[in-house]
């Protein structure tokens, strides 16, 4: 049967979410002849709809449903109701992402073995490794058109990058380049090359940056095997007496509830909504929520060790011109405990427009210390820090029964305390980032605190032993045979790299597994 599918069609696989995980999985399953209904909480926006305006775009795309926060992380103080800066739209956060597409380093698949016991951390080795993932990374890089892979040239460097590169080289850094980016450096996949417009975070109006919204989603729909239902907000997953899941309850745009029957369910709602859906699906058979016999659903939340460094110079930089994330320093990504922490971090250029600089440079700051910084906005260069943070059992997404969303469902509370390793790494990165700018004559630098999280990871983690996590090496829940997790929440550890490429590679791999299981009659 071809799309659209009937609510009672229990032959379909339901994918919840259409971002880097769900959007890619839905298309890859459809390409393999599997019938898929993808439920997306947000609406559909395409390049012609995106706006080159930071706050207007934020209002258009961001996930603004209520969430609560706790813990000692600064985001809980500065943005208490907005722990994450992610997207509610067809294509998910692939509309907003900067495009950085980096493979994990080999040792990062084995964090527990490599780093040893780290007090307070709940480290674990992934049940897969770089050799297993290499062919899937190849497919992901080709799908995304990643620069500096498979013959795709690097992007040209903008002003912000040139300052960054010059400082890095004076400091002796060697692994400095314009990145491996899912942004076309030449016409590719029916999409044009980057026009250096800026506003990568607001959705690429040229379509030069890969987003599932205008690649995998329409490609999947074209097969006739994929139906994407937008503004379909999942409330819970239901199961039968046999313990297997059998369908998904969602609210449509008018708030009416429906149940889409399913052969299997794949959860890809980002690391807050995915555990929230599993926890909100508790029944007498699964009193702690679905797939939660380990008690690990929602735990080990990671958000990457982040921060930014901005530098002011005596001459113009105009960092907003061109690619938002225009280059990278990788020298600090190695594991080298002599620096005072395990794991490593990347430094990546970042340019914000004036409205977001005012909001994020020093949240809560005021007076001339703050405003003289913005007075030099035109002369400012910027970089973002992204490093591996430690999984901690107590950093977790739980249900806040005191706060309900528009459908009456308990919202996610996000608790996060920085681990001492995260703090040591951030301080090191602040120092190195400032040194990069000082090396080329910065008159002032700013160690800027983390923004609301875009790299949300680990709340349904992958584990060899069912006791230690929620899903197995295929993203299949240890507890329920026909329930899968397909987004960054399955990350065992976070590594130093931006996670999207790995989410995409895992989704392609999972599609191969699920399609195989369907054809073998096991699903």
């Amino acid at each position: 049967m071809a799309a659209p599918f009937d609510m009672n069609d229990d032959n379909v696989i339901v994918v919840i979410g259409t971002g880097a995980g769900g959007g890619v999985l839905a298309n890859e399953l459809a390409q393999r002849g599997v019938s898929v209904v993808a439920l997306e909480a947000g609406g559909r926006y395409l390049p012609e709809d995106y706006v080159n305006d930071e706050w207007e775009s934020f209002g258009q795309l961001a996930w603004l449903d209520p969430r609560t926060t706790s813990g000692d992380w600064r985001v809980a103080k500065d943005f208490s109701g907005l722990p994450a800066w992610i997207v509610k739209a067809v294509g998910g956060t692939t509309t907003h992402w900067a495009g950085a597409s980096l493979r994990f380093q080999e040792h990062e698949w084995k964090a527990k073995t490599t780093y040893g016991e780290v007090q307070g951390a709940n480290l674990l080795d992934w049940p897969i490794d770089g050799a297993e993932m290499a062919p899937w990374y190849d497919l992901a890089e080709k799908k995304l058109g990643v620069t500096r892979t498979h013959g795709m040239p690097g992007l040209p460097g903008n002003n912000n990058y040139k300052v960054f590169e010059a400082g890095a080289k004076k400091l002796g850094y060697e692994e400095v380049h314009t990145g491996r980016m899912a942004i076309n450096s030449q016409d590719n996949d029916g999409r044009p090359a980057c026009q250096q417009t800026g506003f990568c975070f607001q959705g690429c109006k040229w379509g030069a940056k890969w987003s599932a919204a205008y690649t995998d989603i329409p490609n999947g729909e074209a097969t006739g095997n994929l139906e994407v239902r937008e503004k379909a907000h999942v409330l819970r997953i239901e199961h039968g007496d046999d313990g297997k899941v059998n369908g998904v309850i969602y609210a449509d745009a008018d708030g009416n509830e429906h149940k889409q029957m399913a052969r299997a369910v794949c959860v890809a709602g980002n690391s807050y909504e995915s555990p929230r859906i599993l926890l909100n699906s508790a029944t007498s058979m699964y009193p702690d929520g679905l797939a939660n016999s380990s008690g690990q659903v929602g735990r080990n939340y990671m958000r990457h060790m982040t921060g930014s460094v901005y530098g002011v110079f005596d001459k113009p930089v105009r960092m907003w011109r061109g690619t938002t994330m225009a280059g990278i320093i990788q020298d600090e990504a190695r594991h080298d405990p002599s620096r005072g922490f395990v794991g490593g971090y990347e430094l990546e250029t970042l340019g914000l427009g004036l409205p977001f600089m005012a909001a994020f440079l020093d949240p809560g700051g005021w007076g001339r210390e703050f405003t003289t910084a913005l007075d030099s906005y035109e002369n400012m260069a910027g970089m973002w820090i992204v490093g591996e943070d430690m999984p901690q059992e107590t950093n977790r997404v739980t249900l806040n029964h005191d706060v309900k969303d528009q459908f009456g469902m308990p919202v996610a509370n996000v608790h996060f305390d920085d681990h001492p390793n995260d703090i040591a790494m951030r301080n090191h990165a602040y120092k190195q980032g400032a040194a990069v700018y000082d090396a080329v004559g910065a008159t002032r630098t700013f160690p800027t605190p983390p923004y609301p999280s875009t790299h949300n990871l680990g709340t349904n983690r992958m584990s060899e032993n069912p006791r230690d996590g929620v899903v197995n090496s295929n993203g299949r829940t240890h507890d329920i045979d026909n329930l899968f997790v397909s987004d960054g929440s399955q990350f065992t550890t976070g590594a130093a790299e931006n996670p999207t490429l790995t989410i995409v590679a895992l989704a392609i791999r999972q599609a191969e597994h699920i399609a195989g299981e369907v054809s073998r009659g096991n699903l």
């Binding site: 706006v51 080159n52 305006d53 930071e54 706050w55 040209p156 460097g157 903008n158 002003n159 040139k162 300052v163 010059a166 980057c194 026009q195 250096q196 417009t197 800026g198 506003f199 109006k205 040229w206 001459k315 113009p316 930089v317 105009r318 907003w320 011109r321 061109g322 427009g353 004036l354 409205p355 600089m357 005012a358 909001a359 809560g364 005021w366 007076g367 001339r368 703050f370 405003t371 913005l374 007075d375 906005y377 035109e378 080329v440």
Partner: protein, 174 residues
């Protein structure tokens, strides 16, 4: 500026004849506040004009940019001139003036040095009123497209073809 009385219709002399000065920067009269140079004027509906003048000065003292004229600060706080918001704003400004009197000044607007006004703001920076005004200014001031050029920010670029041929890599001082 939207909602602003037409300053061109009012000479400086006429404006001053209908108003009293409020601090060094503002004049207020029946239902309006204006720049002392008559470059801009704003009618008030729910707030007392003196309150609006003080609020505009407070906004500048929180986020002082010497290249940004008062009318942009006025636009940033204009949204508080509503029946719903007025009571809280009047109370907040009254507390601000009380704090000024506590330090021997007639009121907040009469304080000559920014430093002395900022001392008063520092004492109240954890208050709900201060945080309401400061938080609102982050978007109210910096998200006005008219102020962007004053910081060199160029805004939207897609309609002009991005910066591929317009200087994305034109830095020449490295």
């Amino acid at each position: 500026m939207k909602d602003m009385a037409d300053p061109k219709g009012l000479t400086r002399r006429e404006l001053l004849s209908r108003s009293i000065t409020a601090g060094a920067s503002f004049v207020v009269g029946g239902g309006f506040v204006a720049g002392a140079d008559a470059a801009w004027a704003m009618e008030t509906a729910a707030l007392k004009p003196e309150t609006m003048a003080t609020l505009i000065q407070m906004a500048r003292d929180i986020y002082p940019h010497d290249q940004v004229a008062d009318e942009y600060y006025a636009a940033a706080v204009k949204g508080y001139d509503t029946a719903e918001a007025a009571e809280g704003i009047e109370a907040g400004i009254a507390a601000l003036n009380a704090a000024a009197r506590g330090k021997g000044h007639a009121d907040y607007l009469s304080i000559g040095w920014e430093r002395d006004r900022v001392d008063i703001l520092r004492d109240m920076e954890n208050s709900a009123f201060f945080q309401q005004i400061r938080g609102g200014l982050v978007t109210g001031l910096y998200n006005q497209k008219a102020v962007w050029p004053l910081f060199g920010y160029e805004g939207e670029s897609y309609s002009q073809g991005g910066y591929i041929d317009r200087g994305f890599d034109d830095i020449n001082w490295l």
